[in-house]
Subunit: 109 residues, 2 copies
DNA sequence: TTTATTGTTCTACAACTATCGAACTATAAT
DNA sequence: ATTATAGTTCGATAGTTGTAGAACAATAAA
């Protein structure tokens, strides 16, 4: 079984979070996750890039502390670490998500 | 006289702003600007990088729509475009600044 | 057991980026 | 006019990153 390494709250950096969210593909993915409820498998979110590319993006999000990955069968169930992020950087994550949602800022390449 | 090109409000993208703020040197610089009042010359903010490197970072911030540059003699007076950013992406800029200020997240390399 | 499903890892590559020194520009001061 | 000051621009370089295909691993379904 796959073991995923997640950063603890104090290991999460602001610049790391901002960098992870600054990619259109990742921001779009995170925004889709936020609109869903609970956990989502990787494949359930529509993407415009290859499977291996998405795997890379998901790792970046995980290492930045934005998502949590839980293996379930052959799937990887993804959930946002919204609460921890909100606690560590109040307003940052929520305002970014709102901004991403309320306009066409998320342009897939 | 140097002519600087600034993006209009509708040319500013969320990913562009996030990317510009995701660099420690730039985030530190912006945070210093925010703690000052009004315009600041480039040189008045302490940095840990070379002059030419700082010039590069300042251009990135300008092209992302985060700062405004006004030539004044031999100096470049910098001001934050806080109001425009707040209007376009409510809460994003302010929350990032607060997060950067309230902890040691800004680590100069 | 064989096949299908889901996602990861590896390799490669092209594009981008942060960094710096050196040369340059333009204004200010002497 | 000469010197000083404040930034910009130009190479060059080392490191990072987004992309995708191929091979792989692990579980599920037949």
């Amino acid at each position: 079984m796959k073991q995923y390494q997640h950063p603890t709250a104090d290991q999460i950096t602001l610049t790391g979070v901002l960098h992870a969210l600054s990619d259109p593909v990742r921001l779009n993915y995170v925004q889709c996750l936020a609109q869903s409820i609970g956990e989502q498998a990787c494949g359930t979110v529509p993407t415009s890039v290859a499977k291996s590319t998405m795997s890379h993006h998901i790792r970046v999000l995980r290492e930045a502390g934005i998502i949590h990955i839980r293996p379930y069968g052959t799937q990887s169930l993804i959930s946002l670490r919204s609460d921890e992020l909100e606690k560590k950087f109040p307003g940052v994550f929520t305002s970014v998500l709102t901004a991403a949602k309320s306009s066409d800022v998320v342009e897939l390449p």
